[in-house]
């Protein structure tokens, strides 16, 4: 969720690159709070898109990696507290960030390896600003 807030906070810069944003959740439409985000959101409870983009389920042990624990401690000190998952949510499901060109080609992929593994929003904006050919040459799949 912290990542979503960071993306939302810099949406003007993202849209200046000409890109749109779509947030994808594995929650069902009925579980998405109206106040979650001002960004467009799509629901994928069957995880068709998660699978198509190669987003895997992690292991419970990923929560105990030092940098993951450190991120959660930072979030707690900033006022966030863990809550019980909504029905249908899977805490082991990993997320990711992808850039799809107007021609529907995947030009950037970051598949999270654990809950703390996200590109910075600055990195995403940098990728959005690159000409497509540069992106295809510079970006390799993250696994």
């Amino acid at each position: 969720m912290a990542h979503l807030v960071e993306v939302q906070d810099r949406i003007s810069e993202i849209r200046l690159t000409g890109a749109d944003v779509l947030v994808v959740t594995l929650s069902a439409p009925s579980s998405v709070p109206a106040t979650l985000t001002t960004l467009p959101i799509a629901c994928d409870p069957g995880r068709l898109a998660y699978r198509a983009f190669g987003l895997e389920r992690g292991r419970l042990s990923m929560f105990f990696r030092p940098h993951v624990l450190a991120r959660y401690v930072r979030l707690i000190f900033s006022g966030w507290f863990p809550k019980s998952p909504e029905s249908g949510e899977d805490l082991l499901q990993l997320g990711g960030d992808f850039i799809v060109s107007a021609a529907h080609k995947l030009v950037f992929a970051h598949r999270s390896r654990d809950p703390a593994d996200r590109p910075t929003v600055g990195e995403l904006i940098h990728q959005l600003q690159l000409p497509m050919q540069t992106r295809l040459l510079a970006t390799s799949p993250s696994f």
């Binding site: 969720m1 629901c43 068709l48 198509a52 107007a102």
Partner: protein
């Protein structure tokens, strides 16, 4: 498990639902799209 789309490949056509239950086709847009896949809503 089907092969995941890789950088340089065309994304597959996938239908998703908006919170209002209308359908959204992932490969229908005409602009560059930043997709942010969340882990959970909490």
């Amino acid at each position: 498990m089907p092969k995941a789309v890789q950088v340089g490949e065309t994304i597959p056509g996938i239908s998703l639902s908006r919170p209002d239950n209308t359908t959204l086709e992932l490969s229908e847009g005409s602009a560059t799209l930043l997709l942010v896949f969340l882990r959970h809503l909490r």
